[in-house]
Every structure is written in C-alpha cells, then in structure tokens.
Amino acid sequence: MSRQRLWWHLLRLGLAAGRNSPGGRLRFAALTVAATTMTLVFMSVLTVVATYDGWDKRDLARGAEMARGKRPVVASYKWTRDSVGNVPHQVVHVEPRSSTVAPPPGLPRWPGPGEAFLSPELLRAGAGEGIRDRYGVFAGIIQDDGLANSAERLAYVRPKVDDRRDWFGVTRIGSARSALMGDSRNRVPIGQFIATISITLGGAAMVLLIIAARCGSTVRDRRTRLLTALGGGYRHRALVNLGEALIPSSVGTVLGCVPYFVMTIWNVRLPITGFTTNSADLRSWAWAAPTAAVSAFALALLVVVTIHRDTGSTQGTQPRTFEGAIPRWRSVVGAIGLIAIVVTPYLSKVMSFLAYVGGTALLWGMLPSTAGLVIRRLGTSLANFGVRTGRSDTLIAGRWAHARPGVVVRLVSVVVIGLGVITQAQVWSSRLGESGQNAQRAHQELRDSVLIVVPQSMTPLRVDRFTGLLPKEAELLMVNTPDTPEGTTEIRGSCSTVRKLNLKCSPGPLAQDKGDVRARFLNQYVSYVGKTELREGSVLAAAKTSDRIAVILPLGSDGFSGQVKQAAYQSFGMAFVERPYDSWLLGTDNLATMATWVRLFTVLMMGILLLAVVTSSAGEFLTFTTAVAPLAVLTERRRFVMGIALWNLSAPTVIAVGFGTAVAAWQGTFFIAMTSAGTFSWTLLGTSALVALGLAGVIGLAGGLGAVQATAQWRPAAD
C-alpha cells in the first residue's frame, strides 16, 4: 500500500473506530464538549484582546489633552464624581471654546448649555434615581464609540454656569497625552487578565480535554497495543487516534466559535460581572478568530495523540476490580486541618491566618480519602439494603461503590471542594479595608440622612431656589470652610434644624458631640484637622460666606440623594453632592468589580472541572456496566442499569452537595465571624448548590442512558 493510501486508510480506520467502539457516543460527546470548552477559552482570550484594543482606541479618541504653554484652548473640562446607589461614575463637565472643535466621540454634537448626554448603562442603572434629568436636560445617549466599554457609566454635562474656576483648558480631544477617564481608571492590565483566564479556565479546560481523551480508554489502549504488535509506529497510531477524534473535535471547535460570532453581532452582557462586550470591537478582530479556533482544534488533537502513546505496559490501563485500602492517617490529617480552622479565633493575627489557610488546605486535600472511607461504608450499607429488600440496583451500586470508590470520590470531592472554593472566593473578595468597613457601618446608620452639597457658586437666591426644590423633610446647614486647614469650620443653621439633631439651641457654639449620629458625623466630616463650631443662625444670611451646604434629612432615610442632586444641579448649575462616607465607600468599588470577576472565573472554572468529573465518572460507569450487560439482556431488564447509575452516581453526589453546602456555609460564616469583615452570600452558595444538584441528576442520567444503550447493543460474541 502506498504511503498516501496507508495514511488515508488509517485515518478512516480511526473514524470507523470512533463510530463503532463501545462507549463511542459518550466519548464523542466528551470530546465535543472538551473541544468546545477549549475553543471557548481561546475565544475568550481573543475577546479580551479585541475588547482591550477597542477600549484603547476609544480612550485615545476621547482623551482630552490639557493645554500647556501657548497652545490654543479648544474646550474646558472638569471631571467630577457622582454615584448611583453605591456605584460611582464620572461626570465630565464640558464647555466648547471653539466653534470648529468636534465634540467628544460618541456625541453627535456638543451638549447645549444645561444639557447632558448619558451612557446607556448610566441611564439604565440610574432610572430609579431620576438620573435622566439630574444634570439638566437630557440631550441623548453617548454612543458606544465614546465609551470605554458598553457597560461604562459616564455623563457629558454642559452646565449653565459662569464661574469656571478649577476647570481645565483642553487643547486637543483625541490625544494619548491625557488623563484616564471613566472605567479606564480601574482597568486591570491585559497581561494579568489573560494570565488569569489561561490559568483558571485554560487549566480546567485542559483537565477536561485530557479526561475526555481518556474516556473509554480501555478499548483504545487495546487498539494501541494491537497496532504496536502489528508493527505500527507512533505515526500510524497517531493517525488512527486522529481519525477517531477528528469529527468530535471539529464539531466542538465549531460550537466553541458560536458565542464569539454572536458577540460580533450583538453586545452581550456577561453574567455576574455585568460587563458588556462591544460587537464592533469583536468584529474588528474577527479575522483572528479562525486562527484561534484552529489553535484550539490543533491543541485538542495534540492532546488526543499525545496521551495515547504506547506505554508498553498493560498494568496502568486495565480497570482494576478492587482499589487498595485507604490509609487512615489521611483522615487524621484532615481532622487536624479541621481543628486548625476551629482554633483560629484563639491565635494571634498572623498565626490565625496561617492556621486558617493551612487548615483549609489540609481539610480539602485529605477530603478525597475521607470521602473514600465514607463511600466504602455507605456502599456496604447500600448493598446490604439491596440484599434485605431484594433490590438489584442498590445491591450492585453498593458493591461497586465499595470495591471502587474512586469514581464516586472524585465526583464528591469536586462537588465539596468546588462549593468551598466558590464560597471562599466570595467571602475573601467581599472583605474591605478598615476604612471600607467604617464606611459600610456609616452607610448603614446614616443612609441618605446627611448630604453635603458643594455648589460651583452660591448666592442667597440660588440657596433659596435650592431649598424650594428639596423634599419637605429636608433642613439646611451652611458650612463655611476656613482658608487654612487648621482654622475653624463654621456651621450655621436654624434653631429648628439644630433641635432636630437633638441639640439645644443657644446663642454660643453648640455641643455637637451631644447631638445624634448625624451631628457627630457632620462634625467629623466637614473638617479634617481643625475645629468645628455649630451655631444657630440664618441660612440665607450665611449663604454669602459659606461654600458648602449640609442637607439634613430624617435619620436613616433613604432614596433622597437623587432628588437632592437634581435640585443642586438645577439651582447651582453645577454641584458636587456626596454622603459623608462616600469617598471611602465608593473607593471600594474597584475591589467590588474585581470581586465579581473573581467570582465569575471561579464559577466557570469549577463548572468546567465538574464537567470533567462528570465525563470521567460517566465513562468509568460505562466500563462497569458492560459487566451487567449479559445478565440485563438475558433477563430483559435493561433499564435496571439506570437505577444503578442513579444510586451509584447521583445519590452520592446529592449527599455530597448537602455535605459540601453545610461545610462551605460553616467555613464561610466562620471566616466572616473570625475576621469581622466581608459578607457571606447565601444566594451564591444556594445557586451553586442547586447547579450541583442539577449536575447530580445529569451525571446519573448520562451514565445510565449510556449504559442502557451499551446494554441494548450487547450480543454474545465469540472471543
């Protein structure tokens, strides 16, 4: 046979083997899923590259270069911060100074005086706070080409003000020599992002690929040895294996490309993070998609070929009937890990951290062995139950679980550790620094009951108008900041306002520390270094000398900030409004954004690993069930193998979900109690547990259906 014909023949042999070998359908599905996952990882990296590239281009296009020297000023800019709920966003105040200068990208024109353009995400998120009219007349939305990403919250506002102190002269829009704005200020470096995807999702996808390639390995190992015995070399074996993997890998690669191409048509909001992809960015990199897809496809084939080398040994590939005994010391070490976690509150700070991390590692590391012991015991109990009741499925499932707990142990371990990792990632990333925690506490106490307004310019007339636009429960205090930080900050308000702060009204300075929590916070907030004096006085009279206004609302009241902000913009043309704790609370937003990405990657990674274990378990289960096939066919009880699958795979997984949820909840709440920081998300744990329960059902059904099918195909064959 010519070399070319042999090549083709071996490839066709592999294709036929893929169709006809026992468990072929399961392996086909496993390889398809694995190739899909690997392609998705490659496409995710491409999506990141495309997104960062588009982001950089848009950043460059909207970058405002500040005027230096004698270069002409084309516009004036002032950047301020605002927030919707507890999520901050940037407000770019603009004033064109040249009739020829083009508006910033994303805007069809410069906003007119008193007009504002808002990003779609800001408009959506702030709908409940009336963001549309907060900064003036809504002029339209900022198009995608003016936003770092489609989920960016940004506003371009042209306030009706004459006084533009502290504004910056801009000499050019569309310059690299500009300050970062919007979401670009908190962007993670691209290398870090891609490395995270490669390690977490890429690593998990590789595990899945290896397991899928080994799925039903008994048949292929036998074929490999046969080809070797017939004089076939590495190249011949590789061709057969390639032929077998060609179709599922191709199908998987095509499926893995679908999400990328969907994202080139529509902007897609990612779950958990809320980040929205930009279809134009992805379209501009669509040329690289085939390269990414072919790379993923080639990697899938390479793994299949590489792991089916002839090892020359049959020992490692033959299924063993009984697994060896599990050393008890592993359970003891696991128990030591548990004790280490429990004693953490009684140790010093450094020691408690080490004990917690070390204890967790020991507990999770030794879990498979402990689970093995438990599964063996439960297997015996289940088999005894089968003997007592005459149930064949529980008898076989129990005996298998006892003889070879490995299949179930891997499943159980991934479920328990997976729930633990997801919970730990959530609680660790929910931790805030000390100032963040103080801000959280202040937020819980004050809500919107104290709001500080910093107007661009203040006159008694404007203050009067502002007062008229405020909710009727609102009271005003005027704040006069001294010229030097050490000077005394004066706060003036009417007697009725002072009394509402639980203070006695008297002619001299009032004892603020005797007032309620609002008075105390106001005292701390308005002056960092110097003294503060609260005095009774007329608000309008004080307006001439004051530079800030404190709006006091009933203690614990919520939902007023939107109305106060809108009133401030309408009255003063431009104003900065914040709650006393905002600068700390909103500063944690970057951490919160990171936390959502950590959560997304953790959930995806665990999902892929779970898929890998499901594939592995279903494959191994199929090997077991070939033993039952003759009996099932002769007695025509083919469906009882479904019962074995549910008892052998689903039931232990359901128990593992219950156990894993309990351990994760205990460890998570324990961590929160120990560190007095962060929050525990029952929603995330509950959702993860429900997903794991769903997978428990899927694994049982997948294993069972595969076995029913294999049983149906069984015929006595002369050997």
Partner: protein, 228 residues
C-alpha cells in the same frame, strides 16, 4: 426417565437461514433438542456457532426459517414476548462467566432470579442451594477472588436458578485449564439428566464435544451430524 428420543423436541430449529451483508452464515439449517438431552455444536471459529445461539436467544432475527421452543415459534414473537421467553425458558453460560466480580457468588446467582421477578427469599435460598450442590463456597467473598472453576460453576448456577428448560452454553470451558475444564464439563453434561433440561453447547473443544449425547459440525453454513 423416558428416552429423550421418544419425546417432542424442546428446541426445534427448522430451515433456518441467515446472512450478513458480506456472507451467508447458514442455509436451511435444522436441529432438534429434547429435554434430558445434550447436543454439541462444533466447528471452527467464524462459522456462525455463536450467531446461531443469538438466534435461539431471540437476539438475532434470522432471514428465514423458524425456531420453536416448548412449542412456541420465537421468530414470530414481539420484543415483549421474547423478553418473557428468555426469562422463563432460557439459561445461558458464557465463556468467561460474565459475573460481577464485586458481588459474592450467592448475590451473583440470586441477581438473575431477582431480575426474573422471583421474590428475595426464594432467590437467595435457591442460589445458596444451587451453589452448595455445585460445590461453590458460600459466603461474602467477592467472586473476583474465586478460582476459574468456581467462577464458572457460579455461572452455571446463575443459568440454572430460574429452572430454564433450555440451557445454552457458549464455549463454557474455553477459559479454563485442563483439570478445571473436566470438572466443569462433568457438571454441565450431567445437567440434562439431573434437571431434565435440554442442553445446547457451542464449542470447538473436541474433548468437550465427546461428552454430548449428539454432536453436530457447522461447516459452510450446514449442519453435519457426527453422532446420531
């Protein structure tokens, strides 16, 4: 016991023909096996002996011809009727036993009865009785730890637990050494008389074939009778 030759056959294969896409496996094949009688079907590998067994089991539908078991034509039966037929009328011993190595011998044997709808107590009692009669140690030792002969005896016990009138065996001693083969062969060929069942054995082992009441050779798709 009456002479089997004067009874109606339990198994009657009449004018059976079967072919695959590539080859004709057998043509106009006829064979009758009575209760209390053992018949051996010999022939080199690849002549269709096992295919004939799968036809008798109702797992393969022949192209033409009929197979009667206890007077019923199984080639006309629906899948449901075939399932009932296999449960009630046929026991099978495989070359490699096809037992579940993790289960004990009584469990392996009782399993067949349980799946056939026998109640738990009867199934386990019968399993233990049969195993004792066949000299297989009882207890909870997994079948994987038994010797080859003990495993094959367990397989025979499993085939017998539903008291099938027709017993089929596909190379039942093919995986055993000489001594073990003889003891298992003694056991199997005693069964027709002890259990009053019909036995059809497929083998290419001449020493095994000599033990049967009648022996046929399947050559080029036709049965050639070597013993009356």
């Amino acid at each position: 016991m009456p002479d089997p030759r004067h009874q109606h056959p339990l198994l009657s294969i009449e004018n059976l023909s079967h072919s695959t896409v590539n080859a004709e496996i057998f043509t106009s094949l006829s064979l009758h096996v009575r209760r209390g009688e053992s018949v051996v079907l010999c022939g080199p590998s690849g002549t269709g002996k096992t295919t004939l067994l799968t036809c008798v089991l109702g797992l393969t539908r022949p192209d033409t011809g009929h197979i009667y078991v206890a007077g019923k034509n199984i080639t006309d039966m629906s899948s449901r009727q075939l399932a009932l037929y296999r449960r009630k009328h046929v026991g099978m011993v495989f070359q490699f036993g096809e037992l579940l190595p993790e289960l004990s011998p009584p469990e392996n044997v009782a399993l067949a009865a349980l799946l056939a709808g026998v109640d738990r107590k009867t199934a386990y009692d019968s399993a233990e009785r049969l195993l004792s009669e066949l000299g297989v140690p009882l207890g909870q030792t997994p079948t994987a730890y038994l010797s080859g002969g003990e495993r094959q005896r367990t397989a025979v016990a499993r085939a017998l637990i539903t008291n099938p009138p027709l017993l089929l065996a596909d190379e039942p001693t093919g995986a055993l050494d000489r001594n073990t083969r003889d003891s298992v062969a003694d056991l199997i060929f005693e069964l027709p008389r002890k259990q009053n069942c019909a036995l059809l054995v497929v083998t290419h082992d001449e020493s095994l074939a000599r033990r049967a009441d009648r022996r046929f050779d399947l050559v080029a798709g036709r049965l050639i009778g070597a013993k009356p």
